[in-house]
Symmetry: none
Amino acid sequence: DALTQGQFDTVYNFLSLVIAAQLFTALFLTFGLSRILPRYRLAITVAIVVCGIAAYHYFRIFDSFKAAFVSDSVGGVDGYTAAVGESFNEGYRYVDWLLTVPLLLLELIAILALARKVQSGLIVRLMVAAGLMIILGYPGEISGDNGVRGLFGLLSTIPFAYILFVLFRQLSKSLATQPVSVRGTLSRLRWLLLLSWGVYPIAYLLPLLNIAGSDAWVAKQVGYSVADIVAKAIYALIIFYVARMKSYDDD
Amino acid sequence: DALTQGQFDTVYNFLSLVIAAQLFTALFLTFGLSRILPRYRLAITVAIVVCGIAAYHYFRIFDSFKAAFVSDSVGGVDGYTAAVGESFNEGYRYVDWLLTVPLLLLELIAILALARKVQSGLIVRLMVAAGLMIILGYPGEISGDNGVRGLFGLLSTIPFAYILFVLFRQLSKSLATQPVSVRGTLSRLRWLLLLSWGVYPIAYLLPLLNIAGSDAWVAKQVGYSVADIVAKAIYALIIFYVARMKSYDDD
Ligand SMILES: CC1=C(/C=C/C(C)=C/C=C/C(C)=C/C=O)C(C)(C)CCC1
Ligand SMILES: CC1=C(/C=C/C(C)=C/C=C/C(C)=C/C=O)C(C)(C)CCC1
C-alpha cells in the first residue's frame, strides 16, 4: 500500500487512457450507427452501451484511486501511501464485467447473424457461464489471502474455459457461412478474443507470484486496463468494421 | 517549480483556450457532418473524435495544473509554488497523443481517398511509427535528467522523421489525382503539417536550453498548447473544407 511517484503516475495515466478510449469509441460508433444496415445495428448499439458502461466505471475507478492514495511531499516526489478512511475499490471492475461480459458475447452473436434457434440457446448458456465466472472470481479478488485467491480463481476458470471453448468452436463453425469479405477478419477476431480475455486471469494471478507487493499490484491494474481497451474498444471497432462490410455486401 | 503570477496566468489561459478551441471545433464539425457525402464522413467523424479526446485531456490538464500550483498570497500576487501531495501530470499529453496522432493520420488518409490497397499499407506503417514516436518520447519527458531527455528525444525523432517523410511524399504524389478545387489547399496542408508537428520536438527540447527553469517550462506548455490547436482543430477545419469541396465536385 505504498506507491512510488512513478508507480502512481503509471496507474493514473492508464486509468485515464481507458476513460478516453471507451468514451470516444462510444462516440465514434454513435456517429457511425446510421451507416450500418438496421439488421446489424443491435450489435453496434450493444457495443456503444458496453463502452459507455466501461467509461462510467473507469471514471469511478479513477476517482477512487485518487482518493485512496495520498502524498505528503511537494509534487508527490516521495511517493504515495494509502489514505486514511478511503480504500481503492476493486469491486468496480467486477460490477463492470458483470454487465459488460454478457453484452460482449451478445455483440458477437448478433454480428454473426446465426440461425435464430442456434442463437438463443447460445446466448443463454454463454451468459450464465459469464455471470458465474465473474461472481466466482470476486471473493478471491477482494480477499487478502492467497489461498482464497487461488481457490476462487480456479473455480472461476471452469466457466471461463467453457466460454472460450464454445466461442471458439462457434466462430470457427460459422466462418464458412460468413461473407468472404469478412472471413479473414472474423478468423483473426478469434485470436484477439483468446488473447485479450486471457489477460484477465493472468493479471488476477500476479499478486500470487513472488513479485514485490506494489509492483504486482501496479502490473495488475495496467493489465486489466489494457485488456479492457482491447476487449471492449478495439473489439467494438472490429465489430463495426464487420458490420460495415456486411451492410455493404447485403446492399 | 515556482511560477510568477504572470507565468501562472499565461499557462492557465492557454490551457483554457485549447479546451474552447477543441470542444467547439468538435461541435461545429458535428453540425456540419450531414453536409458531407457519406464517403468522406469517416474523415470528419475521426476529426470530431480527435478534438473530443483533446478537449477531455485538456480539462484534465487544466485541473491538474490548478491543483499542482498553489499560492499563499492574497490574489496570488506573490506567485505560485508546487503544492504538497499533487503534481502536474505531463503524462496526459502523451496519453492524448497516443490516441490522437494515429487518428490524425487516419483522417488525412481517409480524406485523400487513395486506392484501397495503398491505403491500408500506409495506415499500418504510419500508425506503428506514431505509436513508437510517442512511447519513446515519454520516458524523456518525465525524466528530470537532461541526458535522458536528450537520448529519448533522439530515439523518438527517428519514427518522427519517417512519418513526416512518408506523409510529405504521399501528399505530394496524390496531388495530381485530387480534384483541382482542393489541390492548392492540400498542397498548403503539407506545410501546415510540417510546421505544426515540428513545434512538438522544439517545445520538448526547451528545458535543455539554458533558459531559466520556469521560463522554459512555461514556453513548453504554451508551445504544446498552440501546436495542439493547429494540429487538431485548424487541421480539422481544413479537412472539413476539403471534404465539402470534394462532396460538391462528386455530386
Ligand atoms: C478466469 C478468471 C477470471 C476471468 C475474467 C475475465 C475473463 C474477464 C473478462 C472481462 C472482460 C472481457 C471484460 C470486458 O471488457 C477472473 C474473474 C479475473 C478471476 C480469475 C479467473
Ligand atoms: C519528435 C519528438 C516528439 C514528437 C512529438 C510529436 C510530433 C507529437 C505530435 C503530436 C500531435 C500532432 C498531436 C496532435 O495534435 C516528442 C514525443 C515530443 C519527443 C521528442 C521527439
